[in-house]
Symmetry: C2
Subunit: 471 residues, 2 copies
């Protein structure tokens, strides 16, 4: 067993119980290991688990959860810790279950466009394997997250405008429930009207209803032809209007990202580039060559109606990457431009007709609090992020950032949107659940209570009971 | 109040309670009305409700459900009665809630590609309105069902290979729960990771968890250019292989339907046409002209690899309809070819790699029982139907058809598929829920029990308790 002198021995009985079916290497109370599992990539403060375990299969996961039930101690599933709202932070301590050892791609069902994986497989690991078959997995949240974690948060990203979010890709999950039972939530059929839709319920449940031990996911043929585009506009309104026009024309966008002036400026500062400091759209199209050439001509007309000042298209891989350079380097330009500061990322999603207003409002609020930051958006979905740089030791900065985050959430809810488009609730968005869901929150509480009556699964996350909220 | 002499007066107290907030026109115990609400389009035997009500808004729906709760009597939501597994048949009697009076299109949010409708709006009614905006709603189950009913069964049909199923279109539902509470299950945001996914849970719940009073649905721009195709193959294996090849090539299919020899023959007999009696694929493609022309060339190569004997494409509307004529007339050719007989429709869905085997097996079983029938499939999804003509008064025929249905279900489950791809469980597929879902069925039972503890919402449907099953 991995341990260090000075580690707490309060949990010795639980450790012994775990060691009755796990090896020494699978159970750790080593301080460094506990520290690695005390935080995620968010600005939320950390907290150590009591124990970290490394299960190798569903049967071990089941036994661990049963032991946690006997000891009335929390279970927190953990992928690579790239969550952004404190999802994996063990505020109530307990056992963090690290899925590193369950990282096998079990089967590529080429003809069915399906893949079966363990939860610890990362996105890039999967795509490397799929490439051999001419296939790819489209969901791209930026981080090289595990697929288990991506399913737990219903992650999405730049490609969801075309391929959908994580929930759209899940055909079946093997899930270990709070009582240790192992269930399957779906089948291998591409569609079904049989029974209640447990796939959808468990995806996005952030470890609060069960732990995933196997995922069956849809995969796609690598598009024959890809084209990238970059277009600048005088205003954000124009840029968003152009996107709506393109969508209404039925042009199949693969990705469409908005980057604001401040963020282009930050990239220029950091990368010593000279991009025009204008609201910019980064576009990608997947299809065949003749079709995309016709689409390009149509698009030039549409963006001209929205006062586009410059539009460029590229087709070969290197030129496409260069064209998207400013978008790719955006987070990097902020994070590495301000050493010592941490990035807080907002995540509201609004109806697309409200997007221009929401982005303008966000820019105004960000200017008012006078913190460094910029905006980028998955414009086709109405989801955008503010990247705000804060010093976590500076209480005033942290509070300003939290206030700003709240301003955006309240604005989005007012417009019929959601407090989180793709990052999930974790602890950071719990306090908005009541306002967003109203009486539906009681339905969610009932579901949590009936599936995990003792609240051992990632407790105090997602669904607030009593007056729980942000840490 | 609509009534007839001789109608039962056992429910007089409940009727009086309903009339305390509904008008006479909204409450009926007229025998003809009860009879119209005693059955659906399936082969399942009918049963009269006690009362039929016609609510006009969510508040009335809530009050009706609360009254049903007080009187411990079932509530059965009813659209147009086009369900195929006995979903709306009131086997436990009670109140059938007919949504005819809630059939308004409340809002077309053009820029957001959303529409807000009441549950009684039919598919064709919606598409007629959307056409004015250059938009359309893609889910097409064949029948001109209500959108409330389509959401309740997670309906799909010929276009789901491109646009997804009903569940994929629902952004928000207004739902009245068993306790009369009115909740919203989603928001107007195109995506969200906030809270549990109640949209997905309520879609497909077949009236057993709540009654829908409003739906917010995705809509799409009418494609710039459409092309239809028809191709014949020597074997079903070849036809299915060609579909997999087209999908793997990433060619964006709008619809792809397989029709077997027996069904082509039936169309020829009925319509006095002369289609070649071969396994036939009916295809439809949505995109731009240049792109589809390039796709056609590619497709000709792919289908040639699968021994295609004849392939034709058409682009103008009349020619496209003519090309698809045999597919469109299929059900009609059976139903009107055998007056006095009723059509039983099977509905399994298997992984696409298992589809050719499943269709071949179905054909063999159908030949063995020696009933009239044919096969048609939504091949891109692995979902296919056997259309079997039976005389409901001939017990032997009915039993043979039920046995055949069961053979297909067991085959599909064996291959990792589902007992129902798009029709839903109703009463007809209840007895397969245990085998399909295993221990997950207990999770479904827990959800039903916690959301509808007295089982007043469409009782004895979808989720079997004890040894409930087919009527």
């Amino acid at each position: 067993m991995k341990t260090t002198e000075g580690s707490q021995t309060n949990n010795q009985e639980l450790v012994s119980a775990l060691l009755s079916f796990l090896t020494d290497e699978q159970v750790s109370i080593n301080e460094t290991i506990l520290d690695l599992h005390s935080k995620d990539e968010s600005y939320h403060k950390g907290s150590h688990p009591d124990i970290v375990v490394y299960p190798k299969n569903a049967s071990e996961v089941s036994q661990i959860i049963q032991k946690a039930g006997e000891f009335q101690t929390p279970i927190i599933p953990f992928g690579v810790g790239s969550s952004l709202e404190g999802h994996v932070i063990p505020y109530k301590k307990g056992i963090t279950m690290n899925f590193t050892e369950m990282n096998r791609i079990l089967e590529v069902k080429e003809e069915d466009f399906l893949v079966k994986v363990q939860p610890g497989v990362t996105r890039s690991q999967l795509n490397k394997e799929l490439k051999k078959y001419g296939l790819f997995f489209p969901v791209d949240p930026g981080a090289d997250a595990t697929l288990g974690g991506m399913a737990a948060t219903n992650a999405s990203g730049t490609t969801s405008v075309k391929y959908g979010v994580m929930r759209d890709q899940v055909l079946d999950l093997e899930v270990v429930l709070a009582n240790g039972e192992i269930i399957h939530t779906g089948s291998l059929a591409a569609k079904s009207s049989s029974g209640y839709h447990l796939n959808g319920l468990f995806v996005g449940s952030e470890g609060t209803l069960g732990c995933f031990t196997e995922l069956t996911l849809k995969v796609y043929g690598i598009p024959e032809f890809q084209m990238a585009g970059r277009a600048t506009f005088p205003t954000i309104d124009d840029a968003v209007g152009a996107v709506v026009g393109i969508l209404q024309a039925g042009i199949p966008i693969g990705r469409v990202e908005l980057v604001d002036e401040a963020s282009i400026n930050q990239v220029n500062l950091f990368s010593e580039t000279n991009y025009e400091i204008k609201p910019t759209l980064f576009l990608e199209f997947h299809g065949n060559e003749a079709g995309l050439q016709q689409d390009v001509e149509f698009m030039r007309e549409i963006v001209a109606d929205f006062h586009c000042q410059d539009i460029t298209f590229e087709t070969d891989t290197a030129a496409r990457n260069l064209l998207w350079d400013a978008r790719h380097n955006l987070a990097y330009a902020y994070v590495h431009g301000y050493p010592g500061k941490k990035m807080m990322v907002t995540d509201v999603c609004v109806p697309i007709s409200e997007l221009a207003g929401a982005v303008t409002y966000a820019r105004k609020c960000l200017d008012e609090i006078n913190l460094i930051g910029g905006l980028t958006g998955h414009v086709g979905d109405g989801n955008f992020h503010s990247l705000v740089m804060i010093d976590l030791n500076n209480e005033e900065e942290v509070n300003k950032a939290k206030h700003f985050n709240e301003q955006l959430v309240l604005y989005a809810l007012e417009k019929g949107g959601t407090c989180t488009g793709e990052h999930g609730v974790g602890v950071g968005k719990m306090k908005y659940q009541e306002q967003e869901h109203g009486k539906a929150l009681e339905v969610m509480r009932n579901i949590k209570n009936v599936l995990d009556p003792n609240h051992i699964l990632n407790p105090n996350k997602v669904i607030p009971f009593n007056s729980e909220g942000e840490s």
